[in-house]
Symmetry: D3
Subunit: 237 residues, 6 copies
């Protein structure tokens, strides 16, 4: 399985842009609450935001060789997704690789391992989501794979899937579903705009969403109170 | 226990303000080093700061139904405290709920689970302390309780307790102790101001606090040195 | 072992400055990828940066007595390194101690435990790397040691070692190796500048570092693709 | 709050025995899925099992002084519950304390910190649930409290509550609810016995619990398959 | 995606048996060091061992509904693999479900969440690998899927893949590769038997595997010593 | 620093035996509560126990090459201590290496990474303490060092230090202190035997250790009670 697939199928650029505008939380809901990477993947700086086609990398702990290999097959608009064969926080990605990826057209990186040179990469404005920040250097000793399906952040990522990432995390949209999810997301956004206005005016979700009857059926009871809960202090006993 | 208590007893507004001005570290010390939530509860943006009366929510993993229920009983100046029945990082709280809570008068939120839409909530300036940032959506399936005692961040929170939160974390002050703690905190602050000046002038804590004798009694010994500690390199052996 | 060593040997000031300018990632590589503290040690504010001579403190969980003791032996340009005898996140270090250390000439602190008053310490611009932020107060009950070798962040630190810390973490350079590491770091930096230009121009690491032959020998194969990876949806099957 | 309450109210012995026979999983369900300590509390040997009245201890990290104090107020049939003011794994409890507690009538211990001498305590057959096994020694420097409400394993424990612990963990039953929970548990057990027989005969939970209609309403669909899911190998593409 | 696929393709029984006899470590090596679930998945009792065809379950935190659904489609020789949509330790699987699964022919269970009733399930000899032991009860509120690809323990599992699990963990072999991996495993076993004899006789891996030349080329140097490493005590300085 | 030191200085065999008989908890106390490795290092089977001279290995994540190198310099009575340059759980040690080490005279292994083949190694009775159990295979690509000081489990280990390990964990005794620690341990053991008898007879630690006066001075107060602590149920309010 030590292969590099040079060419991949990508979603249409306008769908990718649309998904990126919707953001992670909306896209995740729009595709049925699946595809979200685990929350330990965090942006290296606040406000980082990206959408692009996944170029996948299967690497090994403490070894960043395959990222160099991936740099050759990246196309404009891609986002690298790096998986590692066992849990590892070593700083597999730094400013030189960021320079190279940007020069080759990549828009950002999601790495299930560590990132270093975070000050420089932040200054470059190259968005990275990583498991850790670590200066720990790595070797170039073991080959892996590029552009094969990988599991990163607990999600199976197929090359060409759409990656959307922002302050809320990273979500993966299967390429074939990009159009349907973008459409569902736009509708959701429209609906939420209306709800937002009503909530801002002080109306309650209980009423907007019609929850009161179901809550009562499930056994929720109201009492007026106040209950004079004793504090746990000995004085309050 | 699936109950909602509509009314709770709250501490006096001026005591809450006083505790908020003192900040978490001073309040925690002033009440005898108890009541501090575990440090995994972090603000979603630097500089977040709040003090208010606890409206408590007992929820379940992956289910944010009870936060909608709580929005109805919130009064101006309250802080929602959300506990979950088992460890969970799902994004139970987002921008729509923040809009609703703010419209109802809430000042902030402490949630022993995940928060999403952090960019939007940060722009709103609505302070949130959470265990994680996660876009993971939740269901509305299981009823819990509102305004009953809950354990959040390892601390038992009684409805109406005063919540003080800032960059240093979250501390809980029992309602009946608010006055005493505020008083003790002010005294502590005054005393620290004097100490600060002496420390800034280069005086040592050893002398200000009179520690030298006790250190000697406990067996601390001074040697002049320098000791030429060998480095752990083979060359240094 | 409850001793305080008053005087320690330090590296030359200009070497310390040189190492500080190189930064953590370069220094770590320059000394052969060793000496890096574990990545859970994070700066309390972005952009924190320091280089100095290690004054070491061996403390105990929930007890910050020895930091007061250390304040007396600190000299201008030192960085305190605090180790604790078992894993602990209590806020052993706050704004008063920061005031004292700064007054005595210390440049910063690395603490394998918690830090509090982070807003105030950030405003002071006193750089701190810690395992956690926590307001949890501590006692002054058990003596430890100052200026003996300690293990912090998984690294053995000898008093007088050079500590370099920035956004990427904390690295320890043995005093006797400071000159050699600084020299190697400068050379590395020069070499990287040349590489950076080539990468920025779109040249590949594969070619710059001459990796292609070795990759082929290790069995890496290229296929053109595109492979029409099925998505994991039932529809895509 | 540095108090020791000598006498506490306990549940009736026969209720405690009944709850112990039911075991943790049944008791937890019978009281409405609340009161379970977090799963990091594990028995130090397989098969450990206990039920008794909670004598509570509020201690501090690295300090076991209050366990000695508690030994005096323990009565036959009690279970010590030790909470610590911040997360800590030090070995606060060992074979000497186990000997003392047993001599005073205690049946077991739940400690939200570490335990040591596990071989000896296992040989004694004294059941202990702890967060960690650690030989790390502790001091006797800071006073806490005995028989006040404490939070251990994420649950608020009031002195005299019934503690039930076995291989599945630790559950806390409020003293006043002991009779109701025991009754509900016995009924649950009876019902489960009937269900068990049907399941063992190959009948499905889907039919026994009548789930099919609700699953369909929630949108679950069946397809016959087989789907020839491609493996993720390049060969299988 | 809320579907249940009733029929799946399975590997040949004799291949499954062969893989089971080889064990996790050998199978993992034989298929090129891939497919191993993360090490937090542990057997609930020592010596647990299983091999079978994966029937997959996609569930949600705190909700075990889909395991009941899966019980209907299980065939003799299957192993259930349960994934959850976000990290969760609730006790989704207990003795009643184990009774049902066994009655329907299942050989074991791998669950990326919690297991309860571990004493009873151990007595049944029904092997379970789980992320945690927890009595925390679950609801039946949200539908998921059965027999679709899922990510469990960091590995993508396709229905019908061969699951091999023992004290060393859990490994997944794609159905189409079962024959090739079994063959490679048998060869590896044979080779290891010969190596074992030589190692047991005191021969060195350095010589058996011919490592000396490559080590020298990579720069490994030998010195005779002994080096009188000073201890880190002040006395030893 | 890629060196192998062939010969090391060892403590006298009878001191090592004496320390082993005392066990980890007693030795740790006897040398002043220092030198204990972090509690995540656990034996792979209950009852594992060893004492020997440390032969140290500095390795890298996912790479076990240096253990093969160390096998050559091991002498009868040694215990291998393996450190890794960044946190890693890969199964660097298995049954073949155990066979080799045993044949060369090693008594056991402490590894700050993963162990595999635990069933086979348990049957061999070769004691291993590890951070994890994992079948994850490793490569042989990067050279490290043998018999240089390493940090494992948070403790600096110098070659020839005495390693004592049992169910309570792993403690390191500097070679030069072995005699003093063994002596202190024996005295401690004698003293504890007397204390044990008194505690078993029901005497209290409070009296045996004379703690009552100091507790009162520190402010501990007794109240008779019983306090009728309200339960946190709404019914009990």
């Amino acid at each position: 399985m030590n292969v590099v697939v040079r060419n991949i199928l990508r979603a249409e650029a306008q769908l990718i842009e649309a998904l990126g505008r919707l953001g992670v939380a909306t896209v995740h809901e729009a595709q049925g609450r699946i595809g979200l990477m685990q929350p330990y993947l965090r942006p290296i700086y606040p406000g980082a935001r990206v959408a692009g086609s996944a170029v996948t990398v299967q690497g090994h702990p403490g070894d960043n060789w395959m990222i160099h290999v991936a740099a050759e097959v990246v196309k404009a608009g891609d986002v690298l997704v790096v998986a590692v064969s066992s849990e590892n926080t070593d700083g597999m990605f730094g400013e030189l690789l960021a320079t190279s990826l940007r020069a080759r057209g990549a828009r950002g990186l999601v790495i299930d391992a560590g990132c270093r040179d975070v000050r420089e990469i932040t200054e470059m404005g190259f968005p990275v989501w990583s498991r850790a920040v670590s200066a720990k250097g790595t070797v170039k000793a073991t080959v892996g794979a590029v552009n094969v399906p990988v599991v990163a952040g607990g999600v199976n990522v197929v090359p060409g899937d759409v990656i959307v990432a922002d302050d809320d995390g990273v979500v993966v949209v299967p390429r074939r579903k990009a159009a349907a999810v973008a459409q569902a997301g736009l509708e959701r956004e429209k609906k939420e705009a209306a709800t937002r206005q009503r909530l801002a005016a002080g109306e309650l979700g209980l009423d907007i969403y019609g929850m009161r009857k179901q809550l009562a059926e499930k056994g929720l009871k109201y009492i007026d109170g106040p209950v004079d809960w004793p504090s746990s202090d000995i004085e309050g006993a």
